[in-house]
Amino acid sequence: MVKGFPKSSSAFGVMINKEVQDHVRSWKFIVLLAIILLTCCASAYSSISKILENSNVPLKDGELLFLKIFTLSDGALPSFYIFISFLGPLLGIALGFDAINSEYSNRTIGRVLAQPVYRDVLINSKVIAAMLVIGVLFTSLTLIILGIAILVTGQAPGFIEVFRILSFLLVAWFYVAFWLNLSVFFSIRFSQTATSALTSISIWLFFLVFYPLIVNLVAQGLSPSAYASEREILSYQHFILGIMRLAPSQLFMDATTALLNPQVRSLGPLTMEQVQGAMPGNLPFWESVKIVWAQITGLVASSMLCFVCSYYFFMRKEVRA
């Protein structure tokens, strides 16, 4: 600890330190880490081997080698970012579902709050420590894959690739942060850790499995007739995309698609007029970000909302269980 730091900030440091230690040593984290490492390395392996297979085929104009590692799949294994969209929520939930209620059930809450620290330090440190762990995990995972790719291909990533990969990391981080904050919120509302875990997981499953089914049903019910005008079809498409984007995983997929594929011009349907005369090629980084700005904002906003709710309810919660 740096000397001369104000008291509350050093207490914050102490708490974060402890939380990170707890996470890293816990079995749930180790198991998840193993799963994530295995799947991500497998998907990276498959995409790199695919790239090596086609090594004599020159890259198409504008294709970026290092971005392909994260998006390419050989058909057998989904690509890296798809895996993250599956496993990220699980990681977030695992790190958050017992954040507060375990303090209550272990009866440590009164002990910690009787120390001279502000009450919000506890919840802030829980969330920030978990986000730190997630951030470090994702960053190192990405760096490992990049390193392997550099070793295997003998090429170095360009500036723009690094930028795009960093932005992808950031979006993945926000995405997992949403699930983390959601499960922390449930850990405050429900006094049983099992209840909060199951609730978070059922919401995750709902968005993973049932929500697409429901959207499909709605889409079938509303599908315009074969003779509908172009305008009708377009508005129908926009509507269906709109309701799909209520799912956080869809926001994540949209954002990563645009960030990792510079060729992507739009996430929705384009009319012939719009496509006419377009030059194929890469969008600048900033333009890609602009396409998915709404998605990124949505992810950040929803995790903020969950955190604010958690904060509010935690600060008002009785110390006695």
């Binding site: 102490v14 440590t108 009164g110 120390q115």
Partner: protein, 317 residues
């Protein structure tokens, strides 16, 4: 002398339930104060309000001169609190747990380990410092809790039901440790309990707390004097055989000793006589003259048991 803990009209109401009702309490420096009461009397709620962990509905709680509700951080710096049925991070060692609390209190990394070892030694856990707390017995956890309370060098220690679940010899050791601390370092101790004998043994003063109200407060002598005002002297005697006619026996006793205020058979063949002065010698003569076998004759002292019982029965002073 200024009280170190003072509450003024402190009240806490939950929906429909008044947990603490206009509590006025003063505790002075260096005192060992026992808060006595049955379960659900509002002891824990009062303690939480003193620690600023629970907001009073009305009134003020001041600890070490700070308002516990508006300046809880200052209070928490000076007061060590051991909650009811305290829990620890079970997957960590006792030393780790203790160091964590020490660091939260602003003790630097370099000093915290030495201090933690010292305290573990003080509470007798030096050989278990590196064992996980999950493997500790209840008594060991309680002692670790005390070490945590002490690591911040408190002026006041507040213990909520500290002796629940510890075996009698453990309770004795634990309480003696607390009292010796209080005596040596002039630490004020407030603890709540519903176990009378422990409180009787170690407290300077007790407060009897029922249904959110402090019914009586003071040392044991004062309490018993208040409670049994009319009974200046109480004699207790046990007879070998039972008295045939109780009312005649009572009458005869009163005839012989006009200043007797009360005669009562408390248990089978055990009688208590209240009088203005010591009548044991005469009583003995009298009983012998009536051919009763006397198995026991002594002055009756009122302990906390009787006081406690009286308050619950009578409900008020």
């Amino acid at each position: 002398m200024e009280p170190i803990i003072a509450t003024k009209k402190l009240s806490k109401s939950y929906t429909n339930v008044l947990a603490v009702d206009n509590l006025d309490l003063s505790i002075y420096q260096g005192e060992v104060f026992g808060l006595l009461g049955p379960n659900g009397a509002g002891k824990s709620t009062t303690i939480l309000m003193l620690m600023g962990l629970c907001e009073p509905s009305k009134g003020v709680a001041e600890v070490c001169g700070y308002n516990a509700n508006t300046e809880p951080l200052e209070v928490k710096k000076k007061v060590g609190f051991l909650p009811d049925n305290v829990g620890f991070y079970d997957h960590r060692s006792g030393l780790d747990n203790l160091e964590f609390i020490g660091k939260l209190n602003g003790i630097t990394q370099n000093e915290v380990r030495d201090k933690a070892y010292q305290l573990l030694e003080k509470v007798g856990l030096q050989n278990d410092a590196h064992r996980k707390v999950g493997a500790y017995s209840k008594g060991m956890k309680q002692r670790l809790g005390l070490a945590e309370v002490l690591i911040k060098d408190p002026q006041v220690i507040i213990l909520d039901e500290p002796t629940i679940g510890i075996d009698p010899s453990g309770v004795k050791d634990f309480l003696e440790l607390i009292v010796s601390l209080s005596r040596h370092e002039r630490i004020t101790v407030l603890f709540s309990s519903h176990q009378l004998h422990q409180v009787q043994r170690v407290c300077d003063r007790v407060g009897i707390f029922v249904k959110g109200k402090l019914l009586a407060c003071g040392d044991l002598q004062t309490l018993s004097k208040n409670l049994f005002q009319t009974d200046a002297f109480a004699s207790e005697f046990q007879l070998g055989t039972s008295v045939e006619d109780i009312s005649t026996f009572k009458m005869k006793l009163k005839e012989r000793f006009p200043d007797i205020s009360r005669v009562e058979e408390q248990e089978r063949n055990i009688w208590v006589v209240n009088s203005k002065k010591d009548i044991r010698a005469e009583l003995c003569d009298f009983l012998v003259s009536k051919k009763h076998n006397i198995l026991l004759l002594r002055e009756k002292h009122y302990g906390l048991d009787e006081i406690y019982q009286q308050y619950f029965e009578g409900g008020s002073l």
